[in-house]
């Protein structure tokens, strides 16, 4: 009899430990990356690192501005493309379509959601890059290789589409049917109802979901790296190359051990990425939680 109770206590202890360890992992990552970036922060001020755009590790110049702006531009443009598309699609699926339509659309979204990053990268080099270099480039009168900010953003937008659509469907589905019926009964069209009632009610959730999807897009590595050109410049136009932070880390990990500061700089890059993603993700989740409990 005693044995069983002891077993229960031990198991409980072990499981508490497992759960705690997973929590500690989050803290450990922050602390670990921060400690690793201490070396570079000793030599250069944080402000300098974040606002300088000269990146020459061999000459002790570590400016992250090009990478930070690359990350934000590529994610920003991707969001601009993906947001209206996914919102319209979610509205169509929740407000307009019959369930038979949904039965055919969901598997498509599932496929999109499950394909690995590198496959989107291959698709980008095969389809998007040629379109940009052969059609869009000449159309606006710029010679471009096709490996551009725009290509990266298009690929990235396709990758976050399924996440956005599924988050939006959940948000829109939570709006009470009574509200819609009240609006329809007053003679509003379906779109008017959607615009004035459903979207208005769902707006906070839509914003939070978008932030969540952005946090996912910020860390996307291989697919973007394969199509965005990877030149260390601050992009001026959509047809410039760009160099996001994840690509910086992935491209240089092989050489980073050659210089102690180089490694520290890349770990600082990882820390920046971790920090931005953490803030976006945590903020969006906490906000979504308060909406849900209301």
């Amino acid at each position: 009899m005693k044995y069983r109770i002891i077993k229960d206590k031990v198991a409980g202890g072990v499981m508490t430990l497992f759960t705690l360890l997973s929590l500690i992992l989050l803290v450990a990552m922050a602390v670990g990356l921060w400690l690793k970036s201490a070396d570079i922060l000793e030599e250069h001020s944080m402000w300098n690192l974040l606002t300088a755009s000269e990146w020459k590790p061999m000459r002790n110049q570590f400016g992250f501005l090009a990478f930070i702006s690359g990350t934000f531009y590529v994610t920003g443009v991707a969001t601009v493309i993906a947001l209206p598309t996914s919102l319209l699609m979610a509205i169509f699926l929740t407000e307009y379509s019959r369930s038979t339509v949904r039965r055919y659309i969901y598997p498509l979204l599932d496929i999109l959601a499950s394909l690995p990053s590198v496959i989107f990268g291959v698709w980008g080099t095969l389809v998007i890059v040629p379109i940009v270099s052969d059609i869009i480039g000449p159309a606006v009168g710029t010679a471009t290789s096709g490996y551009t900010l725009l290509s990266g953003a298009v690929v990235l937008s396709v990758m976050i589409l399924p996440l956005l659509v599924s988050l939006f469907i959940e948000i829109l589905g939570n709006v009470e049917i009574d509200l819609r019926e009240a609006s329809l009964a007053l003679g509003a069209t379906r779109w008017q109802t959607t615009k004035h009632v459903v979207l208005k009610k769902g707006l906070p959730g839509i914003i939070a979901s978008t932030v969540l999807a952005i946090s996912r897009a910020l860390g996307e590595t291989i697919a973007v790296l394969m199509v965005c050109g990877n030149l260390i410049i601050i992009p001026d136009s959509l047809l410039d190359a760009c160099y996001p932070i994840p690509a910086l880390i992935a491209n240089n990990y092989g050489e980073m051990l050659s210089l102690p500061l180089y490694e520290s700089a890349l770990m600082f890059a990882a820390f920046i990425l971790f920090f931005i993603v953490l803030v976006f993700n945590l903020g969006a989740r906490l906000y979504l939680k308060t909406i849900k409990t209301e």
Binding site: A11, T19, L25, L26, M29, I91, V118, T125, Q192, Y253
Partner: protein, 282 residues
């Protein structure tokens, strides 16, 4: 006035259908580009042989090393991942009260961990490995993929485990069971969720490139021990595609087809199970 609203309705209806066609177009475009490029160049030799001499300038050989490496890493990570996540899920749903503060903080933390990019996991694991003295190896790859999938496993199993009726557990308690002894009941209840979560995370681990890039390295051989380097399919696609030779690039497309087919089978069956069981839930 009355007309305007109907015109607006029409315009937006059109835009919605357009967005639908656009997304469907994307899906078919992705699949078509991979399959039309890869299937014609895919040969039996590629999936059954190791890279031969002169492989990276377009000579004979295949990418069996990458297939086997990926399978090893995914199997190891899934095993470890389940070993960690099942107790955690059990703890969250049986040991903790429904409104437990610790529970909600833990769930939030797993959500956030789920959102951490795999490149950050890779970089973090890499620094840890340097400190501990492990080189890029099969073990490193398994560990980083475990970190990557544990949050997915926990969150998707927990979602179902939370809906287990309290009465069910109370029945077990009333028969004299301790909390740990209800684990059989709980596991039976969440069995479909375990299956789905496993398949989802296998798909995720199989397709991840950024995490294993640092930690597993790349090699032409099949790893024979945990300390050997291990190749992976996504990296095999990535590296071969950046080669200038057409033959090598073609092999990248062929590897992409293999990867896509594996992922589609795994993920879609996972999602199918999920949908099938959630449909029958009250």
């Amino acid at each position: 006035m009355k007309k305007a609203k109907y015109i607006e309705e029409k315009i937006f209806r059109f835009l919605m259908v357009l967005s639908l066609i656009l997304v469907a177009g994307f899906v078919f475009s992705v699949l078509w580009s991979i399959f039309s490029k890869g299937i014609p160049v895919l040969t039996w030799e590629m999936v059954t042989s190791l890279p031969g001499s002169g492989f990276y300038v377009g000579k004979q050989g295949g990418f069996l090393n990458a297939i086997v490496g990926s399978v090893y890493i995914v199997l190891g990570a899934t095993f470890l991942g389940l070993l960690i996540s099942i107790p955690v899920v059990f703890y969250l749903s049986v040991y903790l009260k429904k409104d437990s503060r610790f529970g909600s903080i833990a769930r939030l933390a797993f959500d956030v961990l789920f959102g951490v990019p795999s490149i950050v996991y890779g970089a973090f694991a890499f620094t840890i490995m340097i400190v501990v003295g492990i080189r890029a190896s099969l073990l490193g790859g398994i560990l980083v993929e475990t970190l990557l999938i544990v949050p997915i496993l926990i969150r998707s199993m927990d979602e179902v485990a939370r809906t287990i009726p309290k009465e069910l557990l109370e029945t077990a308690y009333s028969l004299g069971a301790t909390k740990i002894e209800t684990i059989g009941v709980v596991i039976r209840q969440i069995a479909p969720a375990i299956a789905t979560a496993t398949l989802l995370s296998v798909g995720r681990a199989m397709g991840d490139a950024a995490g294993v890039m640092f930690t597993a390295g790349f090699t032409d051989y099949i790893p024979e021990s945990l300390t050997d380097k291990a190749a992976t399919l996504p990296l095999s696609v990535f590296f071969q595609l950046s080669a200038p030779q057409i033959e090598v690039q073609n092999r990248a497309y062929a590897a992409a087809v293999v990867l896509t087919v594996i992922i589609l089978i795994i993920s879609l069956s996972g999602r199918f199970i999920m949908r099938y069981f959630s449909k029958n839930k009250v």
